[in-house]
Assembly symmetry: C2
Homo-oligomer: 171 residues x 2
């Protein structure tokens, strides 16, 4: 990875102490900000972005085992335990008996969990709208199109965000 790369859009040797305007930098700083805002918005719901990601993935297909869900989210079985514990303690999901395998759990959202997921989506929408408040509707469409043309390193399942599962952001 990180071998020779095409260097056409930006000159190769900028002023050493100065950074040219950079899509990478903008996207990185904005992405961090968005993550913080999402975490803040979810706090009243008692969950963190990683829980949101798990609930969302579970809602897409219920009855999955922890392992299956963990593979979808690229999470080690290990880390799934605490995450599922959290959500079960909050009453947002249940570990039910798996019909075919008595070792495994069949994960299922509770009605409360479905409600919280709904609210979490609304938080996400708020973050989106706050972020895009300075854009006309057409500009936002245009921006989405351009972002879609950026090279994604990890064309995994859509909706899977590798950075969503770290520790809660401090500061």
């Amino acid at each position: 990875m990180m071998g020779p790369m095409p260097e056409d859009h930006v000159s190769a040797a900028p002023e050493p102490t100065t950074a040219p305007p950079s899509v990478a930098f903008a996207v990185s700083a904005l992405g961090f900000q968005v993550g913080r805002q999402l975490a803040e918005g979810l706090r009243p719901l008692g969950i963190e972005p990683r829980h949101f990601g798990l609930l969302r993935a579970l809602a897409i297909s219920e009855g999955q085992t922890q392992r299956a869900l963990g593979q979808t989210l690229n999470l080690h079985p290990n880390r799934m335990v605490a995450l599922v514990d959290d959500l079960e303690n909050l009453g947002l999901l249940e570990r039910r008996r798996h019909p075919a395998d008595r070792r495994a759990h069949a994960l299922a959202l509770t009605p409360t969990g479905r409600g919280v997921l709904q609210q979490a989506f609304e938080v996400a929408v708020s973050v989106e709208n706050a972020l895009c408040a300075g854009l006309e509707h057409a500009e936002r469409t245009e921006l989405l199109g351009l972002l879609g043309k950026l090279r994604h390193q990890d064309p995994t399942r859509p909706g899977v965000h590798p950075g969503l599962y770290g520790p809660p952001t401090s500061e």
Copy 2:
């Protein structure tokens, strides 16, 4: 924070299990990817993104005290110690005597440090170009313009990225 927000661009209640195309999500996922790529690219130089950030800030005005530099980067004095230790051990900067205050250090880049910073900028340019490889020049300009219109929560000094100083990204 996170109070009432305008909700015009996106309907407030999407399908609960499905996410509409979102600038926030795209920017967040791409930002995380960019961070990983930068870390990978810097590894051969023996530094991490946070060291890059510190070197860059130091290059802008040398002779600063650790505290002053830490304030620029929003880093507690505490965390500066290990960071400056790293860079001093690598021979990239020096703690010199402060002319006016014998408690403080005057931080200065070494020639090696200047060289490594230069190489780090080249890595950053590589990441930028890889990211934007699918864009025409005009599209990239357009994208930069649109990103600039997104609402920045933290209009601090330009070039300061709050998420740059966490632990090195695993996975």
